[in-house]
């Protein structure tokens, strides 16, 4: 094959990789027109504090960086979670322009602002507890998440479910044996009640704006959170029924990001997420078919 042909082929692949699919159904088209209706679409990926008991290791900084490497990488065919550029002044902000789905709109492109935040300051849980900067990082992650639930278009949480207590951005409370205090967390709602409160307020005050898709990439998130969230707000909710292995949660986060930027409808997103089947399957509910 000649060099010119190879170049042409490479260009075609690149163009295809950057072209989102046109949403199929009327509802789906409307959902994406709404999602990308403003000049800037805000998407937050917040990693919770991911301690790995019984070890002292904490993984969210590393998972975040693996995620960041992927979104900064050039795009390849079929993958849309890529091609972002990092902001020079904010280490957690990444941007990328995509074509507007609304062909009638005057603006041809929408800027996607992707914020990627982690919760831990180091890989060792004991050291983190002794590091004053951990308190800032926990507060920063928690505030980022809460504000994103109130104001952003899409929010992903990738972390522990804490036995249903919800998103958690701090070193966990431990029991006398050094394990995560399950009794404490089972009796508390903590991060989850904050989500519900914010979603409840949002639903009352500004029905047509705010969060459109919420992804909970944490263990058994369907059982822990799904029903309650559906009572409070109509959002497209990505969740899973099983305990989830960290690399599967990471992969599902990337697949979901890619699917949204590709403007897939719920069937397409579900297919990409394995239709909720198997050990790593998740689903989206409450999103346009």
């Amino acid at each position: 094959m000649s060099a010119a042909r190879l170049l042409l082929l490479a260009c075609l692949i690149a163009i295809q990789a950057h072209s989102a699919t046109t949403p199929a159904s009327k509802e789906c088209k409307a959902a994406y027109n709404d999602l990308f209706s403003k000049p800037v679409m805000n998407l937050w990926m917040v990693f919770g504090y991911k301690d790995i008991r019984p070890a002292r290791f904490v993984g969210d900084r590393h998972e975040r960086l693996a995620f960041v490497q992927k979104i900064l990488a050039p795009c390849t065919k079929g993958n849309f979670a890529c091609g972002f550029k990092r902001d020079g002044k904010n280490a957690d902000l990444f941007t990328r322009k995509i074509s507007s789905p609304d062909k009638k709109s005057a603006k041809k492109t929408v800027t996607v602002q992707l914020w990627v935040v982690s919760s831990s300051v180091g890989s060792d849980d004991q050291s983190n507890r002794d590091n004053p900067f951990q308190m800032w990082q926990t507060g920063y992650a928690k505030k980022s998440f809460d504000e994103a639930i109130a104001n952003a278009d899409v929010v992903f949480y990738n972390g522990h479910s804490r036995f249903g207590a919800g998103p958690d951005f701090a070193p966990p409370r431990l029991d006398d044996t050094g394990q995560v205090d399950s009794v404490y967390y089972q009796n508390q709602k903590l991060g989850f009640s904050d989500i519900l409160e914010t979603l409840g307020t949002r639903t009352e005050k500004k029905k047509k704006s705010g969060l459109k898709i919420l992804g909970l990439f944490s263990c058994s998130s369907t059982q822990h959170f799904s029903n309650e969230i559906k009572k409070y707000a109509s959002v497209g909710l990505i969740s899973g029924k099983s305990l989830i292995f960290y690399s599967d949660a990471l992969e599902n986060s990337l697949v979901s990001l890619s699917s949204i930027l590709q403007m897939r409808c719920s069937d397409g997103i579900n297919k990409a997420l394995g239709d909720g089947k198997g050990v790593d399957g998740m689903t989206i509910e409450g999103f346009a078919p």
Binding site: I52, P54, A55, F57, G59, R61, H62, R64, L65, A66, V68, Q69, R86, G88, K89, N90, A91, D92, V121, G122, S123, D124, S127, N131, P132, F133, M135, W136, G139, Y140, F163, Q179, S182, C219, L243, I244, F245, Y246, S247, V279
Partner: protein
């Protein structure tokens, strides 16, 4: 003859079915070990892993497949220290740091020196430029925790990396070396940290300098000087946090 062929076919089917179960079960067990919320499930998963035949070979082969993360989980969970040389030889090409983190989870008195000198070698050689940012972060963590002193010039070079995550880990390394191991030769990194483009790194640096100050560790930054730096912070939320670091009682 026909009965014999039939018998052999059934035998072959049973054998291959068994092989599939065996092959999958290490993956299932590794996944359970990694995601379990209870110690009992984890113990059962580890017992299942220990039953596997030729597990070491399977895991090493799996490192180059989509089962990489499960293999790493199994290696770490079972503390398979005999695989340390295999893992060490792959660190240089580790794409996302997870192999390096697994290797670090296997450190003990017997293998520590060899592994950590391998880590230092990669960070201070020309190979540094080819290592993934996530792997650099993973390499730095045990060096700081255990107190392996890297040449100041290399650490300063690391702080010029284009990924802020690498620079943040360098600051974390400098903090560990200064606070836990009384090594103070990396002050230039802190000087650069204060003028970082990203507010997250500026705050991290202020937090470290405040810790040094509170422990009466000699520093060129007095409390007054740090307060002046905080007051000039351009990002409003960062300015508030910065001043909070320095207030009596520290960060709330």
């Amino acid at each position: 003859m026909l009965r014999r062929i039939l018998f052999l076919s059934i035998l072959s089917f049973i054998y291959s079915a068994h092989a599939v179960v065996t092959t999958d079960s290490w993956r299932d067990a590794a996944r359970k070990a990694g995601q379990s919320e209870t110690t009992q499930i984890r113990s059962e998963a580890l017992a299942e892993l220990r039953k596997q035949k030729n597990l070491d070979q399977k895991l090493i082969l799996a490192l180059d497949t989509e089962d990489r993360y499960l293999a790493l989980e199994a290696i770490s969970a079972l503390q398979l220290k005999k695989l340390v040389p295999d893992l060490l030889s792959k660190v240089e090409k580790d794409i996302d740091g997870f192999l390096t983190l697994t290797l670090s989870s296997l450190l003990d008195e017997a293998n520590k020196d060899k592994v950590l000198s391998g880590y230092s070698g990669l960070l201070t050689s020309k190979k540094f430029k080819t290592i993934s940012p996530a792997t650099i972060v993973a390499l730095l963590e045990p060096l700081g925790r255990i107190g392996v002193a890297l040449p100041a010039k290399s650490v300063e070079q690391m702080f010029k990396h284009k990924y802020p995550e690498v620079r943040s880990s360098t600051l974390q390394y400098v903090r560990s070396m200064a606070l836990a191991h009384k090594k103070r030769e990396y002050n230039k990194v802190l000087d650069s940290g204060i003028t970082s483009a990203e507010f997250q790194l500026r705050l991290q640096t202020i937090s470290i300098l405040q810790e040094l100050l509170s422990l009466n560790i000699k520093s060129t930054y007095s409390l007054t000087k740090l307060r002046g730096i905080c007051q000039k912070e351009k990002v409003k939320n960062a300015r508030e946090s910065c001043l909070q670091f320095l207030s009596k009682g520290g960060m709330k």
